[in-house]
Symmetry: C2
């Protein structure tokens, strides 16, 4: 059995790698086989602090991990500006690739990563965890149900949190040479992904950034928003910010239904998550109350969403490794669409809030 586990190594000791290391441990079809840092000591300390098995290896360089033939796949939590280099190198070393979001600084860079994955026949997946929660499948089922939801008319998403002064000064997400896309790349990524989910992954035609984004002195986005328009009249808006209290909402409204969720990226609790869904909601005759209200739907899961992500990733890798399957196209396609919209928002901000057309 152990031989069928997908061996996943962690490239870098980012804070988020703690959560993902635990997820790799929890996934029944994956094994946490090692961690690399530019410092051997740092990697060793990380492994010790994060429950790595005794069999896990510690590497004093990223290259050493990538060159280890016992490693099937890597998780790369490095800053966005380093994705192109290390993701391509990982693919060239035939490592299947679980890459932190945003996947790249722009879609041109991302296409080079995808080309490298395709050349080597390795699986690509980005580390957007919440879409792997079974709640998300239940929400998608509702949103695609003509009887319960009808056709999507509008969707609004937000993800904000109040970063403290130290974060706003020192975190990699406010550094132009590290996570140069700032709040848009970090939180906006999730908002855009949720909008695409609600639109059944149909790309919008036009993207317009909202006025008054907040940028730091180095030009990194700390707060922004945008509106997205489809040809059939669907409209979406989102808002992401490092400067406001922790909030993460989806409100999707269809011709027949409405969906509300307040904890879409990280559910309040690990083992169960809820959303509100209403169909043909209506007032009573005198409009003094509602005859039909939205209902709460709760979905339970024995594994946290990040472990379900790893399980899905390892399942696809195992198909390739043991069954000679081709890499799955679904996840990289969705990643690319997310990045395309993100690029359009950034372009609209740079062009003074002009509408930007999305071209696939």
């Amino acid at each position: 059995m152990a031989e069928t586990l997908i061996q996943i190594g962690v490239v870098g000791c980012a804070d988020i790698a703690r959560k993902v290391s635990r997820a790799i441990s929890l996934a029944p079809n994956a094994a946490l086989c090692g961690v690399a840092s530019r410092s051997h000591d740092k990697a060793a300390a990380f492994a010790a602090a994060n429950g790595f098995p005794l069999s896990a290896k510690v590497y004093g360089s990223y290259e050493a991990l990538l060159e280890d033939p016992t490693v099937d796949a890597v998780y790369i939590p490095l800053p966005t500006s380093l994705h192109l280099h290390w993701a391509v190198l990982a693919a060239q070393n035939n490592k299947h690739l679980l890459l932190e979001k945003p996947v790249a600084l722009d879609v041109a860079q991302f296409d080079r990563i995808l080309e490298a994955c395709e050349s080597s026949g390795v699986q690509f997946m980005d580390n957007t965890m919440w879409v792997h929660n079974p709640r998300t499948a239940a929400m998608a089922h509702f949103l695609n149900d003509a009887q319960r939801f009808g056709n999507l008319k509008s969707v609004r998403t937000c993800f904000t949190f109040g970063a403290d002064p130290d974060y706003l000064k020192n975190n990699i997400r406010v550094k132009p040479d590290l996570d140069g896309l700032g709040s848009l790349g970090d939180q906006g990524w999730y908002c855009i992904r949720a909008i695409l989910l609600a639109a059944n992954y149909e790309l919008p035609k036009t993207v317009v950034a909202s006025y008054e984004p907040v940028l730091n002195k180095d030009g990194v986005i700390l707060d922004c928003g945008a509106s997205l328009y489809w040809e059939d009249g669907k409209v979406a808006t989102f808002h992401c910010s490092f400067l406001a209290n922790l909030t993460m909402d989806i409100t999707a409204i269809g011709t027949r239904g409405t969906l509300h969720v307040h904890d879409f990226v990280v559910p309040y609790n690990e083992k169960e998550a809820s959303f509100l869904a209403g169909t043909d909601t209506s007032f009573n005759d005198l409009v003094t109350g509602w005859a039909k209200q939205p209902n709460k739907h709760t979905v339970t899961t024995h594994l946290p969403q990040e472990a379900l992500l790893v399980r899905e990733f390892a399942r696809l890798v195992a198909q390739i490794k043991f069954k000679n399957s081709k890499p799955d196209k679904k996840w990289p396609t969705i990643s690319r669409k997310t990045q395309l919209v993100l690029d359009a928002v950034k372009a609209s901000i740079q062009r003074g809030f002009e509408p930007v057309q999305i071209q696939e």
Copy 2:
């Protein structure tokens, strides 16, 4: 005691007048003294069907009611295009004025109504019911609390419902010569009011309508949205529509807190209403859940919000009638601000989604 009750007459038999007639009956300081229609029979039938007291009078013309010296105040639920004429005439007849929203076709018309009220020394109030629910006071208290909410950063509101084909063809709200402001005047009014409430009634500086509003063949708005911007960086967006499932949300995000409500205009239930409020909401250490979540706050009321509105209106009228007070300025000021923003949204749509500056 009965002598101190404010005698309120209803000018027109609109559907909404059923709810407001009941509210006048329920308000402890008001009496439902009569109803007027252009047809005496229609007024009589309305009075019989809506529990008017035996003492209530029935008038075969609006003028007859306005000229009756036993009537202290009138509720005018007529289509918006008729507000200017009948509201001014009511004020000239020294009737205190409870006027259905939107208060006028534009702020210039509304100013003529206010001038007439001022000349006669009568109270003006618009019929925005939800702001009189004690839940709204609790929400406003939260939103103005520096410790629990901090400074407002963004607020998003929506009010949509799916009008049926008959409504979309025949309702006064889709007729350019009746409620010519369509969904913007009807539902957008509430969205704008909620945004102003969250901004503590500070007007935005700039208003930009969203692309792709839906207008009917006569140019009446069936679906639209807008973004509002303040000089200090606050941003608001709203969406109103006759073309999507019944939904009415406020999401307000401050530097320290977040407020969510899903039934802001008409609470699910008459006797109690809830909202979610979070302060310094946060993730746990590993970001696998929330360490601090929003909490549900429930506010009960023995009177429905529309009766509380009437009670407040009658209280102000009684102050004038029995205590020689001046008319209260708060409610007409808020009505005027709401209309100003509404006018700016309409202007932005007409000018091809150009930003429109608000001038008080």
